[in-house]
Symmetry: C2
Subunit: 331 residues, 2 copies
């Protein structure tokens, strides 16, 4: 069992905090002494102990001389909790192996430096891609100074997300819709335009016990929203009215919202596409043809030529019976 093996364990543990850690990253940690795993932990939610602290608290033996594995550089500053570097040094851990530096400028490289100055060996870079992908939102937020933006839509093969009459219940099948709801749980926020709220009265929740509902962002004028709308069912929502997408993103950055799943409708999706700020796309397709010059699809201005269209890379597919989810990242 090598570094990779234990780092994979940290990723598995980290995922257990999915949805709950925002704006913090998902982090898992294991402590290994003489080949034996003597402690493990993960970051359960923002405000709770960091993964390495949870692991240290749960060790079954004295961690002195052991190796700490963790998917992200240990933090070096006082946030809601004290710096993890202090606790690591105090525990007499001999070596710290982590996949990636922390992109948060308050930490980046400083955690490593502090550990090394205290005579602790460090290794960084193994499974870095996997570690970055797991926390793609967190990395984007700190590196690009804006939330990670994912677009999600459910369409017919001819790209219609609603018929000419605005009808869209349901284009995709139950399994695909269930998966789409579970995606919400991975995001810090979901976003829809005001028209979608007025027309469809969506719930926008994960609707699975034990999963965290994302913040519901409604783009538009709050006067238009009926007070009995499902999106207003609790305080976990924001109604934002900015003129441009970049303005919106500045507001969200300020509010420390690290990721947004943009769910519609056609014009809102089109506006994000036009402004070129999309990191990831989830395109669900059902094997139906809706047709119609006046049916609803991704709108906005759109690309002038095919060459100017938004291209996706790292495409993957997931089947839900005869429905298909295509996932890709901005090229």
């Amino acid at each position: 069992m090598d570094d990779k093996y234990f780092l994979k364990e940290t990723l598995k543990l980290a995922k257990m905090g999915s949805g709950w850690t925002n704006p913090n990253p998902m982090v898992g940690a294991v402590i290994v002494k003489n080949g034996r795993l003597i402690g493990k932990g993960f970051h359960r939610r923002a405000g709770s102990p960091h993964a390495e602290i949870e692991a240290l608290n749960k060790t079954t033996e004295d961690p002195k001389g052991s190796t700490l594995y963790i998917n992200l550089e240990p933090c070096s500053f006082f946030g809601k909790t004290p710096p993890c570097t202090d606790a690591i040094i105090k525990s007499k851990i001999k070596k710290v192996v982590f996949s990636s530096l922390d992109p948060n400028p308050k930490v980046c490289g400083k955690g490593k430096e502090i550990l090394e100055k205290a005579g602790i060996q460090t290794t960084v870079g193994t499974l870095e891609n996997e570690a970055r992908t797991l926390n793609e939102a967190f990395f984007t937020y700190h590196e690009k100074k804006r939330p990670f933006i994912a677009l999600k839509f459910a369409a017919s093969l001819d790209g219609k997300i609603a018929t000419k009459s605005g009808h869209s219940k349901w284009i995709t099948n139950e399994r695909a819709r269930k998966y789409a709801r579970s995606l919400r749980g991975k995001y810090h926020a979901v976003l829809v335009g005001i028209n979608t709220v007025v027309k469809d009265n969506p719930h926008l929740g994960v609707r699975v016990k034990g999963k965290k509902d994302p913040i519901r962002i409604i783009l538009g004028d709050k006067k238009q929203i009926h007070t009995t709308s499902q999106v207003l069912r609790d305080n976990n929502f924001l109604i934002i009215s900015t003129k441009t997408i970049p303005d919106l993103l500045s507001v969200l950055k300020e509010k420390e919202i690290i990721s947004v799943l943009v769910e519609g409708g056609g014009e809102t999706l089109g506006n994000f596409l036009d402004c070129g700020i999309i990191d990831k796309v989830y395109a669900f397709h059902a094997p139906i043809l809706i047709g119609g010059k006046n049916a609803v699809s991704i709108g906005g201005n759109g690309a002038q030529t095919v060459q100017k269209a938004m291209k996706l890379k790292n495409i993957s597919y997931k089947k839900f019976s005869d429905n298909l989810l295509t996932t890709g990242y901005a090229l």
Copy 2:
């Protein structure tokens, strides 16, 4: 080696006539005597000998007492060639095993009856589905009294087949486009609306040596077509101007065109969708988003509700690098 084995051989042989046999079906035949394959043949093109005759002509032993395997009921009437039943009886073949009755009312069941009256054993029904699928166009033509209609389009994930400026070169990649051209070779005719001819000046050929170009059908007023258009490069085209799709299909039925691949543009595809006469769909998708309220997608009136959309069954997928072809049949 059982009946299935030899009938599979007939299907493989039959496919060798793909594109060339229209309006006839693709047929393959093998003759087996004491477990030895003593002759095989296929229908090469309309007007050429039928498969069973080619097989009989090529036998390496006296076919007396042998079994003839064939994917379709032997014909019983004088067409461009004499009835195959006569030749079979004359050859003293003992048994004829075929997958399906011939849907052509001139033959249907009569071939079987004639053989049986002559004391030849017949078996029908093994691999019937496979045999029907191979000749889906031929079966549809005779059973529904109209050509088999397939829709083909190449779109972005958001269903756009051209940008707002009408630009569409190229949405899909070279491999996908090559495959799309090869599909033409399977159809008796391809069809586009006049606007597509005027705007894109398409070739509509297979462009592979040894493959037959389908008849090019242009829907619209011939005065609009420039005389140097590629579709007019030889006499293998028809310009048809009918008011409705059913009228068009009557004309094509009359002309014994058994299958049509409808390739566009958005309005033509939408018109076929609106009139509900589609048997098969080939939807190519590239991992791009074009967007745009005024971009081109499948038009027409479109469905009023999702429940009224056209549903596809027997979905299959084919990947061309990061492009995907979804194929399905009308439910």
